[in-house]
């Protein structure tokens, strides 16, 4: 599905911490079936941007819309219920639960009925089946009963994605999904994200330029909270301002190689 209407639309977003401008008049759109990557040097305000879209931070000014509806003042959990899911840059899972229980909680959030006090949740087929579906999509179904605190770093990153997926969202905000991963793990994650593209709008923050250029339909470059360029990957690669401000040699190599 490739919609003309943007699913996520951000306009005039601004956020300051003390004197520091973290987000400086950002306009951004993400359409269904599209991967929109946001890149930029450390401290460019990428995570702050995701935090505002997901509701963890309140912007000073600006408007955030999701599926045509303004969500700027909605709390995080309501945005999640509308179908806007996020993964975290620093792995944020339930360390003391099993892998499948982690995902089942996310399913439960979307399924509702959390004021059930009596029936055991762990054997609830509604939760378990859908959790297993999400685990299968990220290739973690073999690890279902392992303790989430004990699996490898790469697997935890996959679990992050599975938890975001389990709520059945229409849009995903992925904050550096390949952070801290090796080459092989990164390649697997790129495949996972590619497979999610068809039925989700994805806003991707990523440091790994190979991953970005392999996945993104559109790239926005953020420097000191301000957008300095936005467009298809070829345009960004060729953009002088971007080269100077951020990409430097890395992109030249990429373009030549």
């Amino acid at each position: 599905m490739h919609n003309a209407e943007p699913l996520i639309s951000v306009s005039g977003l601004r956020k300051t911490f003390g004197g520091i401008v973290a987000t400086d008049g950002v306009d951004l759109e993400v359409r269904g079936g599209e991967i929109h990557a946001v890149i930029g040097p450390n401290g460019a305000g990428k995570t702050t941007l995701i935090a505002q879209i997901s509701g963890a931070l309140q912007p000073d000014s600006g408007v955030i819309r999701f599926a045509g509806r303004e969500i700027t003042d909605l709390p995080t959990y309501e945005r999640a219920r509308l179908g806007l899911a996020r993964s975290f840059q620093i792995t944020s899972i339930f360390h003391d639960m099993s892998v499948v229980d982690n995902v089942a909680l996310a399913v439960q959030a979307q399924d509702g009925h959390s004021y059930r006090f009596w029936r055991p949740a762990r054997t609830d087929p509604v939760l378990v089946d859908r959790a297993m579906d999400a685990l299968a999509r990220v290739g973690l179904d073999g690890r279902r009963d392992d303790n989430a605190g004990k699996i490898s770093h790469g697997e935890r990153r996959q679990l992050e994605i599975a938890m975001a997926l389990a709520a059945g969202p229409s849009a995903l905000l992925l904050d550096e999904p390949t952070a801290g991963m090796g080459r092989e793990e990164t390649a697997r994650m790129v495949e996972i994200i590619r497979s999610l593209k068809d039925d989700h709008a994805i806003l991707l923050i990523e440091h790994d330029m190979d991953a970005v250029f392999a996945l993104a339909d559109r790239i926005t470059v953020l420097v000191y909270g301000r957008i300095i360029a936005s467009g298809p990957p070829q345009t960004i690669r060729a953009d002088d301002a971007v080269r100077k401000a951020y990409l430097g040699d890395e992109v030249s190599d990429h373009a030549e190689g």
Binding site: D96, A106, F117
Partner: protein
């Protein structure tokens, strides 16, 4: 299906509950009603500890004002009795209801905060209840109130009879344990535990955790109100001293000593706490000189409490 032996944990739990059930037989034979009294007190406080464990152990809400609910429950028996209203069918629902209401109001404020603020605010609200009862002269103020007649249950059960009261308390304890066991395993319980583990993530996947935590706080408060009503009936005397913040501290210690976040741990903690208190205070009136440092040592070195010890033992056997 092969016969499965109960795990060490479950074994200890069943042995403990069987011990409670058989205690009257033992004291009947040996003629030590004094021990029966201690056990009744133990079971009342165990219910309170089990209720605290629901929010503290499973929900990560470190309430330092839990004894307030014991007091509210006890006064909900004592105040009607003061006016000559002895019906348990009024007193018990009143104890549970007022405790739940107090939990709802204070919880709605406490749970807006986190961490150390939560600890201190629950502590302050507990003191508020303490000072409120101290200042009401009508109900004895500082000196407390004697309950001359225990709750009456329209002839169904006569708790003036010590054994009847004993088994009523035991049934309530077992029911409380079963309730917590079911809640913890339910969808609701998963939300509570998820919120303890990682509240930000819970919000990000779509839970309004505040409401669930508040509900949990109300359940725990109501359950502790029941414990207070039973304790008031057992002691026949209620005073603000039951609500003093040191009582709340003792309840937390019982939970941590037994093992926060384990089902039966708080009961074990209560038993060990009260036995230790009895033994040490028989030894010297300065027993807290020993008891205080024991508490500190448990905090420093006793990870997971008695329940943690049991699971380490069970693992070592394997």
């Amino acid at each position: 299906m092969p016969i499965r032996l109960p795990s060490l944990r479950n074994g200890v739990m069943f042995a403990g509950l069987a011990g409670f059930a058989l205690m009257p037989v033992f004291t009947g034979v040996t003629g030590q009603p004094y021990i029966l009294d201690i056990t009744m007190r133990m079971m009342c406080l165990a219910i309170a500890a089990v209720s605290l464990n629901l929010i503290l152990g499973f929900g990560g809400m470190i309430s330092f004002g839990h004894a307030a609910f014991i007091g509210i429950g006890a006064y909900a028996v004592g105040i009607p009795a003061y006016y000559g209203e002895y019906s348990g069918f009024l007193q018990i629902p009143l104890a549970v209801g007022v405790s739940a209401l107090f939990a709802l109001i204070t919880g709605a404020i406490c749970l807006r905060t986190r961490g150390v603020y939560f600890i201190m605010i629950t502590l302050a609200f507990g003191q508020m209840v303490f000072f409120t009862f101290v200042s009401i002269e009508e109900y004895g103020g500082d000196d407390g109130l004697v309950i001359d007649t225990k709750s009456e249950f329209a002839g169904l059960i006569d708790i003036e009879e010590p054994l009847a009261l004993y088994y009523l308390i035991l049934v309530c304890l077992v029911a409380a344990l079963y309730l917590v066991k079911r809640i913890v395993a339910s969808r609701f319980g998963r939300v509570i535990q998820g919120s303890k583990s990682n509240d930000d993530r819970m919000q990000a996947i779509g839970f309004n955790t505040f409401r669930y935590r508040l509900t949990c706080y109300v359940i725990a408060g109501a359950l502790c109100g029941l414990a207070g009503a039973l304790l008031g009936n057992f002691t026949g005397f209620i005073s603000p001293d039951m609500i003093d913040w040191t009582r709340s501290g003792e309840l937390i210690f019982m939970v941590v000593l037994g093992g926060a976040g384990s089902l039966f741990g708080p009961v074990l903690g209560t038993v060990v706490f009260l036995v230790l208190e009895e033994l040490l205070s028989a030894l010297t009136i300065y027993w807290q000189i020993i008891f205080g440092p024991v508490l500190i040592l448990v905090v420093l070195f006793g990870r997971g409490g008695i329940d943690g010890l049991l699971s380490r033992l069970a693992n070592a056997q394997r």
